[in-house]
Symmetry: C2
Subunit: 180 residues, 2 copies
Amino acid sequence: MPVSIVGALVKGKPNFLTVAWITIVSHEPQRIAIVLNRNHYTTPGITEMKTFSISIPSEEMIEITDYCCLVSGRKTNKSELFQVFYGELETAPMIQECPLNVECQLEKTIEIGSTDMFIGKIHGIYTEEKYMKEGTLDLQKVRPLILSGSNAQYLNIGKNIGSAWSIGKNMINTPSMKSA
Amino acid sequence: MPVSIVGALVKGKPNFLTVAWITIVSHEPQRIAIVLNRNHYTTPGITEMKTFSISIPSEEMIEITDYCCLVSGRKTNKSELFQVFYGELETAPMIQECPLNVECQLEKTIEIGSTDMFIGKIHGIYTEEKYMKEGTLDLQKVRPLILSGSNAQYLNIGKNIGSAWSIGKNMINTPSMKSA
């Protein structure tokens, strides 16, 4: 799973929680879903403010990223861990140090057992030129973290090994595929 | 996003579609959500049979994985692309060649604009000893693919660079964090 830090205003203060249960859910409009255990300190912040942020930390931020899921906002003030900035929504705290920040407007909350899925419409995406290549985000520059839950390891990314929606075309014209 | 191949029985035949919009949504019971555009050939198969599978291809399977999202089951029979096997649910076709296969029972379908989110309860997880280390799945042996959507690239994974729920403990006892 991809590692993100979810930001929300809780009792008027920015709070940050590491979340790896996250997926894109639609392109038009662009929506992302995050899933949190309901008892997290961050949960009422999202529900009340109806905004949240998703920040992608780089691998250099591994310690502080892990720290954000080890300590709860109930006991520890995490509002000064990062250089915080806000976008147009004004209530979704984002992280200057992260290569990629996504500002979301809460659209829908879905209860699934003891977890809540928050579906957010993307309002803004923030990055810097240094993380881009040829007009698009370059993960090789972002250097995101991956979580392997089964053995509790963070991994970094490897290399680009093929073009999506392209490398499989090699198989379309092979006779065995035509006859399938 | 992590790259998976979703399997379902459509009109009685196994069909496979590459899906990168996927996330775990709960641990007890174990549930996974996948998101598909509603017009996919696979969609009615999942809705009717109420079962589906999620298979994780290894990086060596990059061409066939990409192929599965380039061609639709409407025009191309994908039922013989892989060695197919079934688990207890009997209607969730899984892929022998994939290091990891997850068999799911459809629990809930959530419409989000033009996409459908299928939430499945995990019924079975299938892997082989060679992908395990010390009793847990080892992604370094699985060698999964990562999709970078922005620039349409598949990446492989890098190295294990730190222990989750652990490496951040270094920060808990530093004075600056105590006083935060």
